[in-house]
């Protein structure tokens, strides 16, 4: 039996074989298995060279001028936690009467931002959630107004205001892009700080941090054909942002993140990002064509389907080519996933996490009804998807949606 076609690249990507080969070179006795922190022998030097190379590769792709601004972590979740908790930890430990802390974010963020935000709220940080428009995009005026309100708040007018804005570049469920350049400029005009969760953007969009005033940026290797369990946080050095570590034990990574560096994973991440960048424009065009073909095929075969998010999928400035979120009216998304299980590997727009099926918090925040959210699926495309895979996927989805609709009493 052939394996299902993988259309869940937003969840994770397979490691590129070239990356896997490089990682293998850093594992066994014959390779560079040493501890990069061991500065007394050749094994350590070699491992450090691998880590330094990866740091340079990542810096170059992201337009980071000082590679020391790249801090390795275990992935975007840790990076987001370090960014948010590390920023406020500094001020929460000091006299509360001298500081007023604000976090502005969106309800469409990943749980790796929303959960730390919830935690910080319990610690006394004022958390403000800015709702997006129905297409998932944040209107700048809303952010502007929120910042104005904080600055002009008479209650804490005379005390220091620590403001962090955390906005994701590309939404992981809908593929909707935020205008990060404009957001960053606005944030800077208020003297606030900006963290960007770029887990779905890095390796897929051209990013130049020397031209966008972002203070903190999270990335994760397994989203761009690197290994799982490794990521990074970009921490701007000039002007300096005060950030406290959340993991202690040795002072690795410029004191921001203690723990022995996993050489093989870091080396893999460096190469994976380098390879993604080499082919960025062509890959992006190819994937957009696949997405268009997929959507046109489904539209031709099925009625009552709609896109959640930006409707004009051809516009690369509004949504990323690799993600498409579709609502199939009258079809429960979990049943469709089940029906497609032998043919396709995909994700739902909702998750069975408790007694009731919870709607996707992203779709709900966009104002999409519970019912539509329960009938929505995320398809995400990537490097190893072939044109013929799209034909097969369209055929299979068409058959099963028709069958499930025939099975429905609605």
């Amino acid at each position: 039996m052939s394996r299902p076609i993988y259309l869940d690249y937003a969840a994770t990507t397979p490691v590129d074989p070239r990356v896997a080969a490089l990682m293998a070179e850093c594992l066994s006795l014959e390779g560079d298995f040493g501890n990069p922190a061991s500065n007394t022998h050749r094994y350590g030097f070699k491992a450090k060279e691998r880590v330094d190379l990866a740091r340079d590769q990542i810096s170059e792709v992201l337009g980071v001028l000082d590679p020391r601004e790249i801090i390795f972590t275990s992935g975007a979740t840790e990076s987001n936690n370090l960014a948010l908790q590390g920023f406020f930890k500094n001020y929460l430990n000091t006299n509360q009467n001298l500081n007023s802390n604000y976090l502005i974010t969106m309800p469409t963020e990943h749980k790796a931002v929303l959960d730390p935000a919830k935690y910080l709220s319990a610690q006394g940080v004022n958390v403000i959630y800015l709702k997006p428009e129905s297409d998932g995009v944040l209107i700048l005026e809303k952010l502007d107004q929120a910042l104005k309100n904080i600055i002009n708040n008479a209650a804490d007018f005379h005390i220091r205001k620590n403001i962090l804005i955390s906005i994701m570049w590309v939404n992981n469920e809908t593929g909707v892009l935020q205008d990060i350049l404009k957001i960053a400029e606005l944030v800077k005009s208020y003297g606030a700080y900006l963290h960007v969760d770029a887990a779905q953007a890095v390796g897929k969009l051209p990013i130049n941090l020397s031209q966008v005033p972002i203070d903190l940026l999270s990335l994760s290797a397994h989203k761009f054909y690197g290994p799982k369990g490794v990521g990074a946080l970009y921490i701007k050095r000039k002007p300096k942002i005060n950030l406290n570590p959340i993991i202690y034990g040795g002072g690795h990574e410029m004191g921001f993140r203690s723990g022995t560096l996993p050489t093989h994973q870091i080396a893999g991440m460096g190469l994976a990002l380098f390879l993604s960048d080499q082919n960025l424009a062509q890959e992006s065009d190819r994937i957009l064509k696949l997405k268009n073909k997929f959507w046109s095929g489904l539209k031709q075969n099925l009625n009552k389907i709609k896109i959640n998010g930006i409707k004009n999928i051809e516009n690369k400035n509004s949504s990323i080519p690799s993600i498409l979120n579709i609502c199939f009216e009258g079809v429960d998304s979990e049943s469709l996933i089940m029906a497609l299980q032998d043919d396709l590997a995909i994700s739902a727009g909702s998750a069975c996490t408790s007694a009731t099926v919870e709607s996707s918090h992203v779709l709900s925040a966009m104002g999409i009804s519970d019912r539509d959210a329960h009938e929505s699926l995320r398809f995400s495309f990537g490097r190893f998807v072939l044109d013929s895979d799209i034909d097969r996927a369209v055929l299979s989805i068409t058959q099963h949606v028709k069958k499930l609709r025939a099975m429905s009493p609605l």
Binding site: E334, M338, C352, V357, A406, S408
Partner: protein, 151 residues
Amino acid sequence: MKDLEQEKLKQEIFKQAQSFYQKNYWGILSGEDIKIYQAGSLFSGQIIKIYLRLSSDDLVSPLVMPSPPTPLPLVGEGRGSGVVVAIKAQIYGGPYLMSAAGYFCEFVLNKNLKEILEKFSMEIFFHDLKLPENKKSILLLLEDLIREFNF
């Protein structure tokens, strides 16, 4: 650990639902003699609609004919008339509901009302379907459906 168990359970349910999905219970029966019952709501995201054809005195399914020396049942009681000889279902909901509905169709087929009422047990269904605790509401849906039966 709990998550892992839940994930395993979900995989099992998916397999179970897939096997019911392939079966022939889905769709509608039409005709004047068809009885239709429905439970659930769009609000809850779960609807089950059942179409039944029952045997009548002059149309007793050979499968359910009482064989001698069993005494013939009274009309409306026991086997004979009022036995479900055909069933189709329509559902709107997830794989758990699909599994439960498919299993329910198998359970109801070739039984009369008395047998259905006697043998339907939430505990047995729960056990056989391997439903997670938080999906028990599906069984209440089936119970609601049976309560509607009036043949």
